[in-house]
């Protein structure tokens, strides 16, 4: 039998080979698992163990392999720890120490350095394991998720490693890592320790993955419930308050919190106000000493005190637009009072901003008041998912509400159009000595314009043109009121157009909302005397075409719109008409009719058509005006009602 094979068989490393075999089996098992970051680190570690063990089996005199193995394992343990905790990162001095130690170890047999250089490897490795154990022992369930597994396994791991490297250190004069006892007993032992640790951690990695899945499921479950609840709230009645209540309730339920609250941003005072509270939610900030004593006054204080944006963690959350997660209030200076006082005790808190677009409109917060129930990263991500969905829902709710409002308005406009259709005279009175024509076209289904022609008494006629601010039912009602008053008083003896305006204004002012004001122009005409009286409440001036010299004249009086001030008095202006004179009453929509270049039809254009066709009877003149105006406007959509009244003295 060749010496080499005999050497292997007789070698003290057979135990080590067995340990390597265990590792190989372990590796095989890992290979069947899906590729998870932590598991791939485990795989690398097992490889390092196996390769260095095999190398040592065949090249037993090179102490560089145990040392290489030591550094390699440390490297991967750091990387595994880094997956769980931010402190796990490999320190910079790792390379500064490990590389020279390896070089020295390799060069020692060649350069014939003294035996005590062999101390270097174990000393450095022992030091590094001490440093690493510090990190492992710094881990608690408060700073690391799933710390339990590390806590349960760290003692065995550290003890095993200190035993190995410590013994190697003591035995340096007798071969160090190459001492048969170390090789035969310690190395296989620590290999098993590593395998045990790895499989222990691996089980946790699996469990964590599963737990993450169940959390996701739970998350989705509560989100689904929430969506259904919101859906119900919307179909019942669109109430923002109700939606807020749902949000808080669901957030509390989903995180098993003791209390939850929504704070809404006051748009112009830069403060947050408590909007909805569920369960037990003490103010998460310092409260004045007087308030602290009684629970009742504390609740009242919390509900009624606005929080400035630059104060408290609630303000901070809204201002920075970032979530705040305080796992344990004892570790956070901002919550020092909450961690100490029983009345406002908070053990753990999560706050997250509610955004509309990228604007904050509120903050959602949940608290735990049980010292043994602290929120973890799962709860945190749950609340964040929740806030995301809430923001989305509230955004679409806002949009929906706006849409509804618009629809409501349009429906109303339809009803108003119906009311209005009955207001305008269906037929103009046929009288001798004058002829009349009227035109009215609403812009968006319903008009804010109203006109009327009334036979006041024998030989006297009253013309009215009115423009009510706004549209819809309220505007139509104002129109009804104005029309009723005019019809009621116009026949009274001694009434003049100025007096009628006084009465209409007196009747309307204070009765209707101020933004329903109206402009109203009245003219009366006496057939016998050809006398025209005109009074104007902020409407367009009266336009008169004088046939005699083919000129235009405007008549106007002072006076603010109808409905603003009860005491307003309107005066009137008189003139005498001649045969073939034309009187025109019109609303904004006529002279401000716009074409698609944005220019207006203007009074001058109106005058030009009238001048060109002044010999036409009013009905024909009306068509000429409409034709000319429509020709100018083209296809541009009009956003104001167009109304005019023509009266021509028969000649």
């Amino acid at each position: 039998m060749p010496d080499f094979i005999l050497y292997v068989i007789n070698n003290s490393l057979w135990a080590k080979g067995l340990a390597a075999l265990v590792l190989l089996v372990y590796l095989q098992r890992l290979a069947t698992k899906p590729d998870v970051p932590v598991l791939s680190q485990f795989r690398s570690m097992a490889f390092v163990l196996l390769l260095t063990d095999l190398a040592l089996l065949f090249l037993p005199t090179y102490s560089v392999f145990p040392i290489l193995q030591g550094f390699g394992l440390l490297f991967f343990y750091h990387r595994v720890l880094a997956v769980y905790s931010a402190d796990g990162k490999l320190p910079a001095w790792f390379w500064v120490l490990s590389v020279p130690v390896l070089v020295v170890t390799v060069l020692t047999p060649i350069l014939g350095w003294p035996w005590f250089v062999g101390f270097l490897g174990p000393v450095v490795l022992l030091g590094m394991w001490f440093a690493f154990s510090q990190k492992l022992y710094a881990i608690s369930e408060f700073n690391t998720e799933g710390a339990g597994v590390i806590q349960a396994s760290r003692r065995n791991l550290i003890q095993g490693m200190i035993l190995l490297h410590g013994t190697a250190l003591i035995l340096v004069p007798w071969g160090g890592y190459l001492n048969p006892f170390v090789q035969m007993v310690l190395f296989p032992l620590v290999d098993l320790v590593h395998t045990w640790t790895l499989s222990f951690w691996e089980r946790f990695a699996d469990a964590q993955k599963n737990r993450h899945l169940t959390t996701l499921e739970k998350n989705l479950g509560s989100l689904f419930e929430f969506m259904v609840a919101i859906g119900n709230a919307i179909s019942e009645k669109l109430e923002m308050d109700k939606v807020m209540d749902f949000v808080v309730k669901s957030a509390v339920k989903a995180t098993n919190a003791d209390g939850g609250a929504i704070f809404l941003l006051d748009e112009f005072e830069d403060v947050l106000r408590v909007k909805a509270v569920e369960g037990d939610f003490p103010p998460p900030y310092q409260v004045p000493p007087k308030v602290k004593l009684k629970i009742a006054s504390l609740t009242e204080y919390f509900q009624s005190t606005p929080i400035p944006l630059d104060k408290t963690i609630v303000g901070e959350c809204a201002m920075t637009r970032k979530s705040i997660f305080i796992h344990d209030t004892r570790d956070d200076a901002r919550m020092s009072q909450n961690a100490q006082l029983d009345q406002i005790y908070i053990a753990s808190i999560i706050l997250t901003p509610l955004l509309q677009g990228n604007k904050v409109f509120g903050v959602l917060a949940v608290v735990s008041r049980r010292g043994n129930y602290l929120f973890n990263a799962d709860h945190y991500s749950q609340i964040q998912t929740f806030a995301d969905y809430t923001s989305l829902t509230i955004n679409s709710l806002f949009t929906y509400l706006e849409l509804l409002e618009k629809q409501e308005m349009e429906r109303e406009v339809g009803i108003a159009a119906e009311i209005q259709g009955q207001l305008l005279p269906s037929k103009l009175p046929q009288v001798s000595s004058i002829s009349l024509a009227a035109y009215s076209l609403p812009a968006k289904g319903v008009s804010g314009d109203y006109y009327d022609v009334i036979n006041i008494r024998r030989g006297q006629i009253l013309l009215a043109v009115c423009d009510v601010a706004g549209k819809g039912i309220p505007a139509s009602l104002v129109m009804v009121m104005i029309r009723t008053i005019i019809h009621l008083v116009a026949h009274q003896p001694g009434m003049t157009v100025g007096r009628i305006l006084d009465v209409v204004n007196w009747g309307i002012a204070g009765k209707v909302s101020l933004d329903r004001f109206a402009t109203l122009a009245l003219l009366s005409y006496d057939f016998a005397s050809k006398r025209l009286e005109y009074s104007n409440a902020a409407h367009h001036p009266l336009l008169i075409f004088r046939a005699a010299d083919k000129s235009f004249e405007t008549l106007d009086t002072e006076g603010i719109p109808i409905g603003l001030e009860k005491k307003t008095k309107y005066n009137q202006i008189n003139t005498v008409l001649q045969p073939a004179d034309i009187v025109v009453l019109y609303t904004d929509g006529i002279i401000e009719a716009m074409n698609d270049q944005g220019s207006q039809y203007t009074l001058e254009a109106l005058q030009k058509v009238i001048l060109a066709h002044h010999e036409f009877p009013p009905e024909k003149l009306k068509r000429a005006i409409i034709e000319d105006m429509n020709g100018f406007v083209g296809k541009a959509k009009q956003h104001d009602d167009q109304t005019f009244l023509l009266m021509k003295v028969d000649g």
């Binding site: 423009d467 706004g470 549209k471 101020l514 902020a538 603010i560 904004d588």
Partner: protein, 113 residues
């Protein structure tokens, strides 16, 4: 229409952007009413970026103006120009509304009783 609020000392300036018409004038009204509830006492409505107003817009301004007058608080409307000015002139309301050329002028007017 878009409304923005800024603050100068005790005066709140509302910058109105866009058209003031039937479909949005109520927003300005609602905002001012909300501010009145919050005990704001001095207002400037800046119309610099309003190029179109219809009677509903004028209505909203009248409503706001008279409400504030009744409460003995202060309001000035600034930067009325173009067609907005024409409409206000036409409705003979130039005297009815407290008006200033610029926001600065308005603030000064409010500050000096």
């Amino acid at each position: 229409m878009d409304l923005k609020i800024r603050k100068h000392a005790e005066t709140y300036i509302i910058d109105v952007n866009g058209e003031m018409d039937l479909y949005n004038s109520y927003k300005l009204k609602e905002l001012v009413m909300k501010m009145l509830e919050k005990k704001v006492e001095q207002f400037v409505i800046n119309m610099e970026n309003v190029d179109y107003i219809d009677s509903s817009g004028i209505g909203a301004l009248i409503y706001i103006c008279s409400t504030i007058k009744k409460m003995n608080l202060k309001l000035i409307i600034s930067n009325i120009h173009g067609s907005v000015k024409k409409v206000i002139e036409l409705t003979k309301l130039m005297g009815y509304f407290p008006i200033a050329g610029t926001v600065e002028e308005a603030i000064q007017k409010i500050a000096t009783p």
